[in-house]
């Protein structure tokens, strides 16, 4: 599995992976702020965020319609849409693309849900390996507490309730996250994860992350040649725009 650099893309892709509550989203946000301040062309993309697929995914989740197979496929659809419409063109245009979760999330979750590993990997075989993948490894209890403290209402699929591990959502979540962690660790070497000790202070982790990024990516190559274009003038919306969203 080749990286974008190995495939000759001018851009670079950095992904963060880890359990819910491992602090990865905070860290990638801070990386984005830093790279922007450095004048680097940056784009940030989040797992499960394609507008197009979102309504189907949320309907499936709300009504608990999803099986392991459709759960896997609908997330693959979402990823493919973002990959083909955003990530690839941006990487060809020399951007540093930051992804909060990448295909490894699917590898870990879908296999935990019982999908055959070869099948899942085959589906995502159109995607290249990130140039840098940070895996935020926190103690399971730390991640669990961060989530369970702040957001006591767990959603059905988030808690892995579809796996019937326990009738108690909290207990189910604990078991589910534990299994996902095992999957992540099992693939860590194969996909060359850079493991970050996520039990450390936020500032410490960010300093390490920034150092690793600047060691592995020559940021000078990715700076904007010209200053940022001015935002377009505000004008009343007359024609149907590109962001024609369905009724939320």
């Amino acid at each position: 599995m080749k990286t974008f650099a190995q495939l000759g893309f001018p851009g670079r892709l950095i992904a963060v992976e880890g359990l819910d509550g491992s602090g990865k989203s905070t860290q990638i946000y801070l990386l984005k702020r830093w790279l922007e301040a450095e004048g680097v062309k940056v784009y940030f993309s989040e797992w499960n965020s394609s507008d197009l697929v979102k309504s189907a995914t949320s309907k499936g989740k709300k009504r608990e319609l999803l099986t392991p197979t459709t759960f896997s496929l609908i997330h693959a659809t979402d990823f493919a849409d973002r990959y083909e419409r955003h990530l690839l063109p941006l990487l060809r245009a020399g951007y540093v693309v930051l992804c909060d979760r990448y295909i490894f999330t699917a590898f870990a979750r879908d296999v935990t849900r019982g999908c055959p590993p070869d099948w899942v990997r085959g589906i995502y075989s159109f995607a290249a390996r990130p140039d840098l993948t940070f895996f935020f490894r926190a103690d399971l209890e730390v991640s669990l507490n961060r989530i369970l403290d702040g957001r006591p209402k767990l959603k059905f699929f988030e808690a892995g309730m579809d796996l019937r591990l326990s009738s108690d959502p909290y207990e189910s979540f604990r078991i589910f996250q534990g299994r996902i962690l095992e999957q992540y660790l099992a693939m860590s070497e194969e996909f060359k994860f850079t493991i970050m000790d996520a039990n450390q202070r936020i500032e410490t982790q960010q300093a390490i992350a920034r150092r690793i990024v600047s060691e592995q990516i020559d940021l000078d190559e990715f700076r904007r040649r010209s200053p940022l274009p001015l935002p377009p003038p505000v004008q009343p919306q007359t024609t149907a725009g590109t962001e024609e969203d369905s009724a939320a």
Binding site: D81, S125, F126
Partner: protein, 243 residues
């Protein structure tokens, strides 16, 4: 016209049921008592008429039937329709969207109906989905893995009608040619008529190639409706007598 995908003389049994690949986790194949019959073919090949005739015939004989088709899932059919109208999806995405639609129907309609002993009639199946993607240059191995989740049908009929005749049938029915059935997204020609002919020719060639791998029955769809129905009935009768 006696191309059966089973070895001549072999008596198929329920235990011969299998998925194309990995299949759906947790499904007991031996529980699937019903039969899965697939009718493939372009728009205008007579699929719907044939399926209607088969339903009528099967129900008269006392068989319960269920119908499935493309883009009919509860989960994503509306979103898929919307995306297609906007023509904003790239190929892998569209392919996976269709696969999601298919999987949803497989798990929520086809498998439960087969468990309950119904005859499931599929108005197109993974063959059309794969052929469309193959014509668009997608990787055959990738598709094979993706649709490894699908159940192998008991009978598959491909209604073959020459593209020139498909044009006539589509125009006489709708007075226009469908954007997707003309393969307009491929940019074969800016002219929808030319594009339709080129695209349907490519689709037929792909189906012919797939026939070598999957061994479905190619049916001459240019004949009168009743004649085609009679030949389908003959083959389905043979499937129904195997238990």
């Amino acid at each position: 016209m006696k191309k059966s995908h089973r070895t001549p003389g072999a008596v198929p049994s329920v235990s011969q049921r299998r998925f194309f690949g990995h299949g759906i986790p947790g499904v007991q194949l031996d529980d699937l008592a019903g039969k899965l019959i697939v009718v493939e073919g372009a728009d205008g090949s007579g699929r719907s008429s044939q399926i209607a005739a088969l339903v009528n015939w099967l129900e008269t004989l006392g068989h319960a039937t269920v119908q499935v088709g493309l883009k009919r899932s509860n989960l994503v059919s509306a979103e898929l329709e919307q995306a297609q109208n906007g023509n904003i999806l790239s190929r892998t995405t569209l392919s996976l969207f269709y696969a999601t639609d298919f999987a949803d129907q497989l798990e929520n309609t086809i498998l439960p109906a087969l468990r309950a002993g119904f005859i499931v009639l599929a108005d197109r199946y993974i063959y059309t989905l794969m052929a469309r993607d193959l014509v668009r240059g997608m990787d055959a191995a990738w598709l094979k893995n993706l649709y490894g989740m699908a159940l192998q049908p008991d009978a598959v009929f491909y209604l073959e009608v020459p593209p020139e005749e498909l044009v006539q049938r589509n125009l006489s029915k709708n007075a226009m040619l469908d954007y997707w059935e003309s393969g307009m997204d491929l940019g074969l020609s800016r002219d929808v008529f030319d594009s339709f002919l080129k695209y349907q020719t490519a689709m037929q060639a792909t189906f012919r190639r797939m026939q070598c791998t999957y061994g479905f029955t190619i049916v001459n769809g240019s004949r009168a409706v009743d004649e085609v129905t009679a030949s389908l009935q003959k083959k389905i009768s043979a499937v129904l007598t195997t238990k």
